[in-house]
Symmetry: C2
Subunit: 303 residues, 2 copies
């Protein structure tokens, strides 16, 4: 007897052999969901498609396991039916977020907003820029994404100071309790933090004030870890710069100063969603389907 | 008796001890040059200040050595007085050019022109982008700058194919004669070539046609190594994309399609001139002054 699985891609079979006993159906999260999902036993939530895909779980009485493709599953948990296993997408976005972090740092240090605006105006005006080379960079949040950012900074001849919730002296990782004394010494502060009770507002007015003049603040974690008003006050005065993929509020309302403040670059929370995500996600799903069909424990189970 | 040297920075003494027998004067290439340069024996040409600094050599009868801070000295050679030694700035710009190359690649792959224009319009519209991860990148020109770019690409989980004038199988470097067969296999083509008889027009219509659809062409070497018209034809059709710090003509006239063609990002030849250059340049000059004062051979002598 076959088990029904619902995945977001029709080409999943080209990423590895699928167990013969699975009947694979496709729902990409954009079009109309399949009308009858009553026999779906394994459901891979389409990535980054809003709340609709999660609501579908309520119509899946045969459901045994759900795979999220995000690292954070806060929005899925309240809708997860009793007794259903949930696995997350830990690691799938690391490469994508890490290279976007570097893209933000370099865009800011090497003045890309200026060059793009100049190009739009057909204007050739040259000026030497800042570098990433020789900068001292605090990498706050040192999980798998932070670790994926570090080799870029090493390649750039920058000095990296990893900071995690607890110091790990054997890896040269500093504890977050040392942050206040580190901040005055760094040129670039990169935040790669989840949104938790202990990270919310971690970077407030006092922390920003501790940074030296002209420092760059980068956020690819979650917006609420930083006090937006305090950041904007420092940016407006010309003292600090920022490059943000996440922010608070998100998205900013049309008249919010995040759009218009000099020295602030924003991208619309797209760090994790680049092409590199898909092959990694599809390879994970092939492995998860193999495990599901064989009755083996899934990877990345969070509940 | 002291020897007079003319350098572009007044703070050179903070980068190392200067020999006591040198009388150091300063000319930064922007203001009026010193009126009497008749006793200058060692002249460090101000960087990136146009042709005026080189012309000053004609008024230096005591001149024994000239230090350029560029790698290319084509514009200095015709003005170099008979019998005067010339040293170049080889290596000083490697870190700066390498990180700008990566900035161009990431700006193009991760759609930064779009995000910056959206920010200007207070528009939050999200779309998944290309990645650098998993891309196959041909690095054409594999001297010190190419070698400085490679660690960034390694960090990005990209596959790097270095290409030099001659194959070096022990280093996995391919010869330029293999380029035509490599081009159909690469996602990104990065040019890091000097302007010489053998590199001019190296990338023409046939080479560009050999690239796969949606490939990105990056140039941080010299503009004349690529056929601009052929590139623009491929970009206009939407088949190829480009991110260029150097181009031909440079600068493009105001009505040139380099400014306006979709998928083409240009920066105004600023890859080499970022903050990381200065400490490296000043440390080199301290060492050169020490050698000059002791009668030792200078570093980087080209003539």
């Amino acid at each position: 007897m076959s088990s029904q699985v619902l995945v977001p891609w029709s080409d999943i079979g080209s990423y590895g052999e699928l167990p013969a006993r699975l009947a694979v159906r496709v729902y990409d999260g954009i079009g109309e969901p399949p009308s009858d999902v009553s026999e779906v036993e394994f459901y891979v939530l389409p990535y980054d498609r809003g709340p609709e895909p999660s609501k579908l779980m309520a119509r899946m009485p045969a459901l045994r396991a759900v795979q999220s493709l995000s690292a954070g599953v806060d929005s899925v948990l309240p809708l997860l039916p009793e007794g259903v296993r949930l696995a997350n997408g830990r690691g799938l976005h690391d490469a994508s977020v890490a290279e976007h972090a570097l893209a933000l740092i370099l865009a800011a240090q090497r003045d890309f907003p200026r060059w793009i605006r100049q190009q739009d105006a057909a204007e050739w005006s040259r000026e030497h820029t800042r570098s990433l080379a020789d900068c001292r960079v605090a990498l706050v949040g040192y999980g798998s994404i932070g670790r994926a950012i570090k080799p870029f900074l090493d390649a750039a001849d920058a000095e990296v100071i990893p900071v995690a919730s607890t110091a790990r002296p054997d890896e040269n990782v500093r504890g977050v309790d040392e942050l206040r004394e580190l901040l005055p010494t760094v040129d670039i502060l990169v935040l790669v933090l989840p949104d938790t009770a202990s990270t919310q507002g971690l970077i407030g007015a006092a922390e920003l004030a501790a940074l030296p003049d002209d420092a760059l603040v980068v956020n690819v974690g979650r917006g609420r870890t930083m006090d937006t008003e305090a950041l904007l006050a420092e940016a407006k005065s010309g003292r600090l710069r920022a490059a943000l993929d996440v922010m608070d509020p998100e998205p900013p309302p049309p008249d919010h100063p995040l759009w218009t403040t000099d020295g602030v670059v924003i991208t619309p929370h797209i760090a994790g969603g680049s092409a590199s995500f898909y092959p990694r996600a599809k390879r994970l799903i092939v492995e998860q389907l193999r495990r599901f069909a064989s009755g083996d424990e899934l990877l990345n189970v969070v509940q």
